[in-house]
Symmetry: C2
Subunit: 471 residues, 2 copies
Amino acid sequence: MSTKYVDDFRTAARRAVDWVADYLENVRDYPVTPRMNAGDLVDRLPKSAPDTGEPFKQILKDFEKVIVPSVVHWNHPGFMAYFACTGSTPAIIAEMLAAALNTNGIHWKTSPAVTELEQVTLAWLRQWLGLPDSFFGEIFDTASVSSLHGIAAAREMADPDARENGSRPNLTLYTSEQAHSSIEKDAIALGIGRCNVRKIPVDAEFRMIPGALVKAIQRDLDAGKRPFCVVATVGTTSTTSIDPVPAIADIADQYALWLHVDAAYAGAAVVVPELRRIFDGVERAHSLVVNAHKWLFSPMDLSVFYTRRPDILRRAFSLVPEYLTPVDDTRAVNLMDYGVPLGRRFRALKLWFIMRYFGREGICTLIRSQVAMAKKLAGWVDADPRFERMAPVPLSVVCFRYKGTDEQNQAILDAVNASGKVFLSHTVLNGKLALRVAIGNLGTAREDVEQAWELVRLATMAAEAWRPGSL
Amino acid sequence: MSTKYVDDFRTAARRAVDWVADYLENVRDYPVTPRMNAGDLVDRLPKSAPDTGEPFKQILKDFEKVIVPSVVHWNHPGFMAYFACTGSTPAIIAEMLAAALNTNGIHWKTSPAVTELEQVTLAWLRQWLGLPDSFFGEIFDTASVSSLHGIAAAREMADPDARENGSRPNLTLYTSEQAHSSIEKDAIALGIGRCNVRKIPVDAEFRMIPGALVKAIQRDLDAGKRPFCVVATVGTTSTTSIDPVPAIADIADQYALWLHVDAAYAGAAVVVPELRRIFDGVERAHSLVVNAHKWLFSPMDLSVFYTRRPDILRRAFSLVPEYLTPVDDTRAVNLMDYGVPLGRRFRALKLWFIMRYFGREGICTLIRSQVAMAKKLAGWVDADPRFERMAPVPLSVVCFRYKGTDEQNQAILDAVNASGKVFLSHTVLNGKLALRVAIGNLGTAREDVEQAWELVRLATMAAEAWRPGSL
């Protein structure tokens, strides 16, 4: 490569490193969410790309001045919305290295490092998760896509003819009312159809009711339907409730269903010994998703998919064109045979950096402290008679509400978020709007959680003052 | 964040920047492909992740000593396999920044910058590609996933009931014999079924024959099938042949089929004015895929998907759970409504860096020179009576063979690749093994192509000497 090209990079990349370091050091100075209207960034940017190239200095300046002010800072200690997560420093470095190598693990031969490091890191993670060696791992971008592959394999097990002749309209899939919307979306994409997704009721703690699952399966069998898959969730999106996997696995066995477990968020918690029990029965799953970009300190995107039936997944997806003939070696795994995407970026590199940099104990300490902070917050909520907690807190998410109207709760949420100090999200539980505090960023400290709670209490006083008739 | 955490990053990231700069400067010193057996890297790495964290220094050292020697260097000027591509410097910097921000564009509110910069950069690219403003763009990881969305939207147009009740077994899809395998794989995933994919014959220049397409559609209609989609390819994977899109668009109109155009590789070439004609008729496509990580100097992964019917795509995929209620603003696009993946990493940032750093003229100059190098190589092949060219060279890929046996051609390929200087791949055309030289890396210079050709000629002399009976 030309010297100028490389020298320009060296200067600009060093400047970018300094920017990142300063950003991480001072991230609390940024408002978590921008104050802007839709279209503001579009309006600030030129209508066309430049004809001639621009210097890095200008691009980096615009990045700081124009782009960053439109960013929601998911890497901010005050980010407690959705599932809080972390773009950790080892992964930031690894992403840069991966982009520089730009190596692509389509099949083994196209880059042994990509395939083998993916196998190694997912074997390491499998140990951390206490899963049997029979679990085969691969990386996708998002949990939606991982679950799509689990459900596709389920279809292949139930109806091997689908690969050739298409989905049959009688296949039915089971998941709970609290399952992630991606399960339903995957069923749409796969040609299963939304009407063939049964949403099984949950108990008072938002966990799938096994008896209701059996009833639904029986009803479908009686109607000539063909139950093929059940999706259990370990750590649902609203409340982090944990479906009773052992009972669901029994039912899956009884009816010969594929059991897919969505542990996209909660899977990482199993690294902590005292939380291991949330994975009871998961070793019986046919497939499993755990997102490293949720609670394993990886930036987007790194969704880990495991299956103990790679043979079935491979049967569903293997399709080898002449120009991609793989090497003939049993140790050479060709990951393109196990899913839709063909290109495979070197995502495993960041997982390897993360696992080595933090070590099992480092990850364990972080997750343990985040769960402790959530329990502390739950205690504050419980101790304040103006609030009610809306769900148990098994992990690092707390759902609660002010004992008033939904409008008041919305007003509290909006006021808290307008502070720019924290960003909370919401959900609806038992028909009521609930505030939702998710703790998961590496930088989040006790003071951040205290601040969030203080802001909620302040906003509540304001909302109370505005109660109709209160003036 | 703690000072040590940030300081450690600053030191290690600077070291990583220097490694990348040195790597780019001296990349020709690396063998393009590693000499190793399957499992070698697995065997060199520990069986378990460390319990306690390790210093960056050690991780970076192992990266250099253990990981890099197992990498196929797709960013090497001698990489001429598959489709050559580039992890360019502006994108390397942008990937680091994106990982540090770790912002996630699920819907507009979760990060306006992600959504709006994706809209802006894809509007810029749309202009470069000469497409109408009505083309709505979004980014997926790979072309396989982009095309999956095109075909899913096609199904939604033909059979809006599929979303609710699943795919019907009579839907048929048309593409050429030379189409990428991902089209068939997408049909499997979507529940269309492999048997419902018709592979239309091609002419002597590997382009779909419109008359054969009409015949296949008619045959299916007569048999009670329901043709719903045709996939044309602009730049096929084997030979970069260009299907006659205007004629195919006429047929799509006539039979009310969705027209999806796979221009994953070749789309970028349209930035060059004299190559614009390869996009004739593409403005009539319902959807289109162009991979920036192929020929737009982006590292993996960045697949650009356009559709002029976002309404249909949205109808297929929109599904909004309570915890993701978007803001009520017509300018706030919620990209989660237009596909399977929910999380959306800040891929647009690297596209913005690339388009600004190179500018339209910079990109144009690079692509133009790569096409010229391919034509030069084609001329050398044509001038040597021992070789035959196997396909036209409209872009930057040259397919040719030594006029001997497949075994001899394979031996030539193996010998050339064993040099470590270049990496070529192969394909099969008209039943014969062909060598395939793809030019597309930013660093590839005339000397690299000359060297590749010289290596082929040397290896051919060896292969000729080894002809049975020649000793």
